[in-house]
Subunit: 399 residues, 2 copies
Amino acid sequence: MFDFRIQSSEGLARAGTLTLPHGEVSTPAFMPVGTHAVVRGLSASDVRRTGAQIILGNTYHLHLRPGEEVIQQMGGLHRFTTWDRPMLTDSGGFQVFSLQGLRSIGEHGVEFQSHIDGTSRTLTPERAMEIQWQLGADIAMAFDHVVPGQSSPAAACEGMERTLRWLDRCKARHAELVNGRTDGPADGESLAQLGSPVRLSACPPVHQTLWPILQGGIHDELRLRSLEGTLDRGPWTGIAIGGLSVGEPKPVMHRILEHLESHLPREIPRYLMGVGFPADLLEGIARGVDLFDCVAATRNGRHGTAWLPTGRVNVRGAALKGSTGPLDPTCDCETCTTYPRGYLRHLFVVEDMLGLRLISIHNIRFLVRLGEQARAHILNGTFDGWSREWLGRHYARGD
Amino acid sequence: MFDFRIQSSEGLARAGTLTLPHGEVSTPAFMPVGTHAVVRGLSASDVRRTGAQIILGNTYHLHLRPGEEVIQQMGGLHRFTTWDRPMLTDSGGFQVFSLQGLRSIGEHGVEFQSHIDGTSRTLTPERAMEIQWQLGADIAMAFDHVVPGQSSPAAACEGMERTLRWLDRCKARHAELVNGRTDGPADGESLAQLGSPVRLSACPPVHQTLWPILQGGIHDELRLRSLEGTLDRGPWTGIAIGGLSVGEPKPVMHRILEHLESHLPREIPRYLMGVGFPADLLEGIARGVDLFDCVAATRNGRHGTAWLPTGRVNVRGAALKGSTGPLDPTCDCETCTTYPRGYLRHLFVVEDMLGLRLISIHNIRFLVRLGEQARAHILNGTFDGWSREWLGRHYARGD
């Protein structure tokens, strides 16, 4: 459980297999985002057919609706969603720090107002662990202090250091949850003494690991201190890089990844959070990243932007009118193998939600397949040439 | 082709098989409505999995978007939508007569303004035939003059008599299209001389039959004259009853159906247009109707109202919160066999379009299955008792 094996590597790029309670994940891999316990507009079987191996849920959104107690009562996030494969939950840190003006931050945690009903809520490292335990995903993420992409060294340092202090608290509470489950009293009285509302006996069987999140903004030295502090608190079964793709230029993100790479432990998976677009995946893989997530695939899909090997296309465009060809002749997704692209255009013109769904399916498949292709090339030792050529065409188009 | 065989009947209820170019339809049957060449929000495979055997498209909407030329160029409505089974297109009569204030009616046809771009358009009996030929469904409907449900005898008579005169023109133009295809010059020069824009050589292979529509409002004598006039213009492979379920009380609709029934030819299918809700299906079948269509299944689905054997339920309701049971334990649809109803509720609460789709799938399956159940009971000779009991429970609930 929580095992990671590297089958092959080429340069910094790695092809591995991550074993989780709900199945294996072949890496590099893109994870579709199911913020509200649903990948926007898609059924679990739609997502399965894209080849996605693992999906994300979000602590912030699921805490507000339907509430972790409801999901726990229904047997956990897997049974709630009918997604029976690996799942990861984000801690809610990124979301509560994005609630400008609606939140106050202290060492204890973050007080915020629900964007749904305005009620006052508190998220702390401990609560983030408890909620994620009740949700029951395979991987829980640490509760981190996220700072804007262009923060000063002082602000970035403050967020990074607090993230490390919070990591101690996350680790302690997660261990209490794990131990209560495996060694302790079934009903976790010790947790109640700690003020936790979690009743372990009500939890579905959970086998969950905790991954830390690196912070430090765009400052190499802070990033390195974040990594050192995080590894000091280990061992970990995986590690995430947070606070990137939040407004900084792409070359800065690439520099940070390169700077971190030689210091990252080789034997655990590396997850670059909130990334990305197709080129970002290849750039990340080339710098040793194993896992990615991003809403861009579904968000673009809903807006009618499809990703093709030849560049982006607006599905509403007149060029597709009356066309019987597939959206992407090289793609094996349900959308491209079933529907003429003139019909896809029509669905957007008449504003039928089937269109949003079909383009989201294609875009997710596009990223999942990019991960599969990268993996095959790494295993063949041809990743470097292939990805350079792919990116060369991509940048030549100015995408 | 266009053959109808009755396997069994019980009272007025009939179980038959309608053979169409794209397959067979076991009757009684409910036809989901795909107004814009899509059953709102559902893929063709979603619809197939509901057990639906035949779906509808609409001349008015498809003429406006994407236009019949586009669909013809793409190989017809079947290839456009990827629905490879029987299909029927409505003539647009009902839609243009619903455009209050935006249309002017004359003996020639109806001038109307597009509700999309305000452009002026004309729909005549001939154009309605040509457009439907270009769309290429198995069954085309005659262009009829629809009057409001509570129209005076004079208004209903005018609409009914015009519908008969228009039926002559529909029949003539449809025959020209059929003959041009099968006997005439491939490019149908005769049609061009008639002012038709249709180029037969550009049409996908079409095997299409034309069904007339009865009018006459709620006036028995007019209904009978409509039927007599229609049969005089036959023979037909099927016959539709239009102008019902447009505001008149249900007992009035039932009386009209009963009044017509003994005069309707037994050997062709009867299609009650725009009907209905679950009880309407059973009431119609008991009065000798074979085919139904209605948007209520998908419209209710989108609004979160699910039809259950125990009555309607609002999926947003708090009663479903946290429930792990299926929406309808007796239902075999994808929604009921896959998802806990607490998850369906959650999808509506977070306003994810997957919820609309899953309830639409259930509601369509509910009507399709009601047709299948009625058929099985007719074949067994148990329809009368079963449907009385079903309707008794239904009316006792006040649904």
